[in-house]
Symmetry: C2
Subunit: 160 residues, 2 copies
DNA sequence: CGGGAATAGTTTAGGTATAAAATATTCCCC
DNA sequence: GGGGAATATTTTATACCTAAACTATTCCCG
């Protein structure tokens, strides 16, 4: 027989250990990506994330949509878009019917640059996670997706 | 028959999708932890991480050991320790034989505060990852550890 | 011993992040 | 149609984070 308290405590420890593992792996991949983006493209992960979000849609996204998709604060997006705009990789376009809003979209140059970076990005990930077979990657991704759905916490923050 | 290029491309896509899943989950847990630490304890995740590292050892750690364990830059640790020291949660102690080095350790108050926060922290994780059974958590953690070993990239950065 | 290489830590410059306040505009209801 | 609530974005204050430069000390080899 096992005391109930011990069962609960043990489950909790297992989940904590899993979290520490997940954190360790994701930080390592994250650090590599940041480093390579910096050295190979003179860019950063947040910039890449913004461009990736914009690349999905020729029409671009409003600032608030962008912060919703990326799940970061509004003020944060302002700064990143400011810097991308300085480099002429994105542009702010006023929204016809609403003088409050701005649509951000990739410029021609931004689209070309993103394509280059995305190709490299996928190759880096493929290299770093090369120890996963495609089958196992699919399986684990599916399992994570399934569990993420049940997990506590806001699934989406600002997506409207 | 399947074209070789297609096989390679497909594996790469699977790993990319896995990465996006991992990132999504870890960001969500991260955000929750940050939020709860802030509202419940008026603290932050980096502060918690530093205290957690120090809690393992009564003797404390040198600044460089701290940045090595946490895998963050030296300058970063300087700032976090500065702020923890202002709150009297940690203290810097000169190292007898080496006038360059400082050992950082939890104060009495810091140790007590960390114990409170760590208990809550484990409960939050347990709640957020509750969809994983302990068995599955153990299994996945083991698999991640195994793969992390093989994965490309620096396993340890500054640990000496 | 003397001096350059290595080590420990802080500082600096710039980008990323948040929450909260401020600004501007639009919506909508009475 | 006037005014308050809601929405879109920027600004502000503070903390995090890195790489690189800088200071101080220690190590070590000739």
């Amino acid at each position: 027989m096992i005391a109930p308290a011990q069962i609960a405590a043990s489950g909790s420890k297992d989940r904590l250990r899993l979290w520490l593992r997940l954190l360790k792996l994701s930080r390592r991949v994250d650090a590599q990506l940041r480093d390579r983006l910096r050295t190979d493209f003179g860019s950063t992960l947040p910039r890449f994330d913004v461009m990736a979000a914009l690349a999905r849609d020729d029409a671009g996204l409003k600032m608030s949509q962008l912060s919703g998709v990326l799940r970061v604060s509004n003020g944060n997006v302002t700064g990143i878009v400011d810097r991308l705009a300085l480099d002429k990789l994105v542009e702010r376009v006023p929204v016809p019917g609403d003088r409050r809003a701005m649509v951000v979209r990739l410029t021609q140059a931004g689209r070309a640059e993103f394509t280059r970076q995305a190709t490299a990005h996928e190759a880096w990930i493929n290299e770093m996670l090369g120890a996963f077979t495609p089958q196992e990657a699919r399986h684990m991704a599916a399992r994570l997706a399934e569990l993420a759905e049940k997990a506590t916490g806001p699934e989406t923050k600002n997506v409207r």
